[in-house]
Each structure stands twice: as C-alpha cells, then as structure tokens.
Symmetry: C2
Subunit: 480 residues, 2 copies
C-alpha cells in the first residue's frame, strides 16, 4: 500500500502513466485504425453540432434546430457542402467562422487519416511493401531513413503527418487565395470583404467543400473565367489527393518517375474530366435553361467546370434542377466515382474505378495479371476495389430507397442528392433544403458513411490479410 | 486439271466438301463461341422481324411498322415480354402463334448457347476442370464416358445438348400447362381457350417471357393463388437455370450432393426472393394503390409474387406505375441481378452477385481465397464477375442516359424500363408503350445486349485465359 502510494507521487510513476496512455493510443490506432477514424470523425461532428447549436452562431440569435446543427456539422466536417438551411442568411459571422475552421479540420483530418491508414496497410503487407514504402517517392513516409519494424503507427509519426498535411494545406490555400484576391479587388469588392472572401473561397475550393460566403453565391463570378479557373485548380489539387500532390510537387516535370498510383490517378482524373465535359456539352448545348444561350467556347468552359465540380468540388454556376435528366445521371456517375485516394474528394475514388477497369481488361485479354504503365497490380487490390464499390452501392441504394420513401420525391432528384452526399460533393437539386427532419438525419448519415466508409473500408480489408494453413478444394461456379 | 475435275464429281469429293463445311462450323463455334451466339440471335431476330412484318400477323391486316416488328421480334427472341404495341389487340392469332413459337426458340437458344459456352470454358480450363466436367453431376455433359481431349465443341455435342434442352422444356411446360388447365376449366373458361391459354401461360412462365394471351392479362387471375403459384413455379424453374434443373431433377432430396454452383444459385435465389418480398411489404403495405387494401396474408403473397417476377418472369398483378418510387428502385436492383446462369432469366445472374459478395467477405475476413460451402472459388471467377457487372452497368447507364435524353421522362420510369429490358424482365411503367421510334431501337438493342452480352461475355473472358512467360514488377495503387 505504502509503496503504491509513493509510486503515485513519484516522477517515475507519472512517466509510467503517460507511457501507458501513449501505448494505449498507439495500440488503438495501430490495431484498429478504422475504428479510430470513425471515432475521430464522430467526435468532431459532435463538437461542431454543439458549436452550431450556440445562439451566437445564427443570424437570428436563436438556437438552430438540432437536425440543422447536426446536418451542418456533418456537412462541414465531411467537407460536403450540402445545406438544409440557407447558409448565407442563417448563420452569423461566428457561424461562418465555425464553418471555415470546420472544413479545415475536416480536410486535415481526412488527409491525415487516409495517410495513416495507407501507412498501416504498408506495414501489414510485409517486407516487400516495406521496401516500396521506404522509397523516396512515397509521400506517406513523414521522414527518411529505414522503415520501422514495428507494425503500429506511433504517435510521433501521426504528429509528423499532421504537420506535413496542415502545412501543405496552408501553403496551397494561401497560394489560391493570393490568386483570387487581386481579381476580387479588380471586380470592385471592398478590401476586407475581398480578403475574407478570397481565403474563404480558397478554403472551400481546396477542401472540396463548395460553400460560398456571399448570398448570391458563384452567380456573381459565373462569367469570370479567371476566377473560375483558379477555383478549378484549387478543387483539382484537393481532389487529386495528398500522395499525388506530394509527387507532383517533387517531380512535376518528370512523369516517368511518378509512382503507379500517381499515374493512374492523374490519367483517370483527366480522362473523367474531359469525358464528363463532352457528355455535358452533348446533352446540354441546346438546353435553353443551361448552356443553350451560350456560344461554343462558353459552353465548353462551363461543361469543363461542371465536370470538374462533380469530382467533389460542389461549386455550381448553373441551377442543378435546370439540367436535363440525362445530365443529372451523368453527374451521378461522376460524383459516385469522386476524387483521388487520400484526398478531400469523396466517392469510391478514381483509382478504384481504374483498378476495376484494368481487371476487366485483363480478363478480356486473358492476362492472369492486371497491368498498367509497365507494372503488375496484385490481384487482392481488385478485391479491395470490389469491396469499396459494393459498400458504396449499398449505402447509396439503402439511402435512396429510404429517402424516396420519406419524401415521395422523384428518383432523379433523390438519387442526385444522395450521391452528392455519399461523394461529399455538395451539389443539390434542392431536395436537401426541403427535407423533413428524419430525412436530414438519413442524408447526414449518408455523408458520414461516404466520407469515413470508403477511406477506412479499404484500409480495414487490406490490413486484415492473413495467410491460411490449409486451402479448401477448389470449385468453380458459373457466373454471367 | 482432269484429276481435280474427277474429284469434284466423285463421292469422296463430296465427303471432303461436307467435312470442310463441318470443320468450318466447328472451328467457328469452337474458336469464337461468343460471335457464334451473337450471330444466332441476330439471325433469329431478323427472321422474326420479317414474320411480324407480314400483314397476316396483325389484327388489322396491315403491315406492322418496322420499329414495332423489330421490337416485338427482339422481345420475343430475348424472352423479355416488353411491348411497344398492345399485344392482345395488335397481333392476329397467327401473330400470337409466332410469339409462342418465338419464345420457345429463344428459350431453347439461350439455354443451349449458355450450356455450349459453359462446355467451351470447361475445355479451355484444362485438365483440372475437365475432371470436374467429367463428374456425373455436371449437366453440361450431354452423355457419359471419358471427356474428349479436343478443345472444340463438335456439332454432334451441340445437337445432343439441343435435344436435351428441348426435351426438358417440353416436359416442364407440359407439366405446368397440365396444372393450369383444370383450374381454367373450373374458372369457366371454354375448353379450347383453356387449352391454348394454359399452354401459352405455361410457355410464358417457363421461358420467363411474361406475355399474356388474354386482353385483360393477369388481372383475371389476380386473386387465384393456385394459378399464380403455378406461374411462380414455372418462372422459378426457368429462371434458376438449366444446370440447376438438371441437378434438382437427379438429386432433389440430397442437397449435400449438389455442386457449388447449384447451392450458390438456389441459396441466392431464395434469399433474394424473401428479401425482395420483405422490402415490398415494408414499402407498399400502406400504399392504397397497391397492397394498402389487402389483408396481411394477401400482402405477403402478392409481395412474394412481385419479388419472384422481378427475377425475370415479368408477370404483374398490379400496375407498375402505382408502386412507390422506393419500390421501383428495389425492383430495379432485383431485375438487374436477374436469374441463374444458363437460364431463361436475364440480368447479371445471381451467382455473379454471390461471387462479388463472397469476394468482399473474403477481403473483410482477410482470407486469401473466396470460400463457400466448404469449397474454394478461384480468384479469376471474381474477375469474370466484375467484368459482367461492369458490362451490365455500362449498358444500363448508356441506355438510360440516351432514353432520358430522347423522352425527357422521369428517371424513375426510364431506369425501370431500361433495367427491365436489360434483364429481359418485361415489367413496364408504361414508358415502353409511349416510346418514339428511335427509343424503340435503343431499348431493343438494350434487350439484345442484355440477353447475349452477359451470357457470352463471361464465356469470352473466361475462355481467353492465357499464361504469360514473364511477369512485370509489382506495384500497388491505393484504392478507396
Ligand atoms: K464538396
Ligand atoms: K421476361
């Protein structure tokens, strides 16, 4: 008894205690990184639900309804950009600052978590993967030197990653804001408004959120191609993913040195951008409500902008319900695919689609292996991709059926807003603003599962690889 | 010269000629069974387009419009059951006989082709698969004895299969008709009408077509649970697939002896039947237009019937547009999945879904292999499944976007009719009947690609397996 009492007061005992806390955290992040990610996001959403429930957060000075505070918190932390209230008029300046801070935390959170999960996967995949992970071109390594033998991700590494991610975010957002700022001054916006708006727009672009600080939204800038182009660059950098940014920053002009992941992400993103734009041009060029009144070059630019925003940016220069039903469905598909891995973009991720496609190509050619850019992709990667797509399709299906039943609205609109939530895109047909309370919770949950689910699922299934001592006899069912 | 001339006239020369024709046919069916399947279906559709273009085929005695003749021919040969005209009033008795004969040819055709393709796959997969193929439980073998070493499917085997399939079809349809006939007499239908109607309904059930011979359709029998139950059995037998029928007929009461394919098909089909029915009960029990006026047991029965018909049967006791949007989407998913492999049912097939699901389960558990019922499923099967789903999703997406653009109709209805066409189901929201000419060709093509595509794609990709002499260096992209 006396001994224990002494220990509790001694510095050594304190060190023991903190070491045990640290070990417990390490064990938890290392042994169940997916659960850790879900906990972090849920905690952040609770905090921001509380913040948005404060009377000072609203313009009216009255407490926001719980469903709206919750929905806004999820939308901000998951960097979605959907809203059940009119963002510009409902929230006070304090509320808008919460939004601004929230999307930054959400963006740093998702980039860091995705990168940690990437690290965990690399560790678990054993020596071969470790050698790859040790190469200089892997951005998931926070510092150089031999890779640790331990399988757990230590707190120090998490800290390093957090700092690297946060620094990148600050640098890129400052750069985008610096490009937006003079344009706003030229457009005659007052100095302080221009500063606040350029930082706000910059954050909303790089974090792929898509909220606008001003009441009239992007309509003010819809013909300002300089402004819109900078937004597109911000959205592209956010959506392409941290590993790709890291590689581009080091080897922008040496694409031969890019890793397979970087090549796949860039090629698929660019292909989707142009194919999406082409589809929108064909389907909307004679729609009087959208591009029907524009000339050819304006139609091309606005189609490219719309295509890029479905990557998960969520800014819009047109009213979404004005689009033809066919364009809505094309947008649905683009939003479902989403951005790059370990990015602020959502969806199943462009590499997931690319791997599925490569898998089908390998089958069609009769190759036993998937191949791309002179590299062989292991077969288990395609199984992870299948899991992610099944997960995504299931969430979208269940959420769509539920919201169809709650709202009795048309499938065109329900599917669009559900996929926009799942892919954390933030474009809306207007359905989200008209949801009853139960619908707000359903769509909020869809965002959370879309955001955390795809990131952690891939890690969880890839990390759980075990080898088996025996194999069962083989038998081949007929498919198709 | 003289020698050649002699040969041309001699019996030996004739034998040479016929042997060369036979070899050419063998080469073609063996080397490119998918192209063969597409040619057969295209040929049948051309013939039936001509038949439906004959003035004697219509009630009015006037030549049907080409788009309608083509659409009806595709719908009949692909055993879909969609119609751009009012089937009961538009076609004469001759026209209806063409329909009756057409669905039989279509059903025998698809069952035989799918089985031939199964044979080709088995041959190509080498000795291990051959040993499996040699086992008594494999229905794809037309007769017993050691498996031929040749990789091509010989004409004789095709003939044997054709006979086996046609015999099964005649026996099952006669059985179903014999069960329907007394019921029709009891219902007060005149003798000759009862005979014709019972054979017609029986054929439409087993071939999973879903046309009705009488003007008022199934409405006459909507409360006749004996009649509807027999239809369900007919549809189930057709949709479950020829390999399963073969196994059930031999080992109905010894499920332990069933092959993996049979077990997977039966379990998935039954699960989908009950899960679909449960969803329809939940979503429709209080819909006054559908099941709202029914008592509990009627609601359960009608939900089971609707769920079974989305398997690809296509009969309906309710008006599809009366369903809630949520139920339409559930039906979309069930129709997309469709029936069993080598069946008259359509869609991506239940085993394809099962394999994708097992692949995700294996990933989640960290197993390197997919397992089911104590058997290991080779990894390339899941890649074939991915190819089939990608193919199906692409057809449905392109067709839906095109028809949305042509008709400007609501996505609820367009997606339903497109998936109904792709899955050769034949249920309709009414959109098909209102299509403009271009839309009829788009939907007709959707049916053909859905019918031939999934069957041949799986065979084509599975048959093209080659081994490689070198493997490229491995690299792992991040997915999800
Ligand atoms: K967004
Ligand atoms: K059908």
């Amino acid at each position: 008894m006396a001994l224990k009492g002494d220990l509790h007061r001694s510095p050594i005992a304190h060190r023991y205690f903190w070491e045990r806390v640290r070990d417990a955290v390490n064990d938890f992040t290392g042994s169940s990184p997916s659960r850790f990610a879900i906990l972090v996001f849920t905690f952040l959403i609770l905090v921001f639900t509380l913040l948005f429930s404060l009377p000072i957060a609203t313009n009216s000075g009255e407490r926001a309804e719980l469903a709206d505070a919750f929905f806004t918190a999820v939308s901000v932390i998951c960097v979605t950009g959907l809203a059940t209230v009119d963002m510009a008029s409902h929230w006070s300046l304090v509320g808008h600052i919460f939004v601004y801070i929230g999307v930054q935390i959400g963006a740093v959170g998702v980039l860091t978590l995705a990168s940690i999960l990437g690290l965990v996967i690399s560790r678990r995949l054993g020596l071969r993967a470790k050698l790859i992970a040790a190469s200089d071109s892997n951005p998931l390594r926070a510092h150089h030197g031999p890779v640790s033998e331990s399988q757990a991700v230590r707190l120090g590494e998490v800290g390093n990653l957090l700092v690297t991610v946060a620094l990148s975010l600050v640098v890129i957002e400052a750069g985008v804001a610096a490009l937006l700022f003079p344009r706003m001054l030229i457009d005659g916006i007052p100095l302080w408004d221009a500063i606040w708006n350029s930082f706000y727009y910059s954050a909303m672009a790089f974090t792929n959120t898509g909220f606008t600080p001003n009441a009239e939204g992007l309509a003010r800038f819809e013909n300002d191609y300089w402004f819109l182009s900078i937004l597109m660059i911000g959205v592209f950098l956010g959506a392409v993913g941290f590993p790709v940014i890291y590689a581009l920053q080091k080897q922008l002009l040496k694409p031969r040195l890019w890793s397979l992941h970087v090549k796949l992400t860039v090629v698929t993103t660019v292909l989707l951008l142009f194919m999406g734009a082409l589809a929108f041009i064909i389907l909307e060029y004679n729609n009087p409500k959208t591009f029907g009144t524009l000339n050819a070059s304006d139609t091309i630019f606005q189609s490219l902008f719309l295509s890029m925003m479905t990557r998960s940016g969520g800014f819009a220069t047109i009213d979404i319900p004005d689009l033809n039903g066919s364009s809505l469905l094309v947008a649905d598909m683009l939003m479902f695919i989403g951005g790059g891995s370990a990015s602020t973009g959502g969806g199943i991720k462009v590499t997931t689609l690319a791997v599925l496609f490569l898998s089908a190509v390998a089958e069609a050619k009769g190759n036993p292996d998937m191949e791309a850019f002179g590299r062989r992709i292991p077969g288990d990667v395609s199984r992870v991709a299948v899991s992610v797509v099944l997960w995504g399709a299931t969430i979208v299906a269940v959420s769509t059926v539920t919201l169809l039943h709650i709202t009795k609205a048309s499938l065109d609109y329900v599917l669009f807003d559900v996929i926009s939530a799942f892919g954390t895109v933030g474009l809306s047909t207007g359905l989200t603003g008209d949801l009853p309370e139960s619908g707000k919770y359903v769509l909020g949950l869809t965002m959370l599962l879309g955001r955390v689910g795809t990131v952690t699922l891939a890690a969880a299934v890839a990390a759980s690889q075990t080898s088996k001592l025996f194999r069962r006899p083989e038998e081949r069912p007929i498919v198709g």
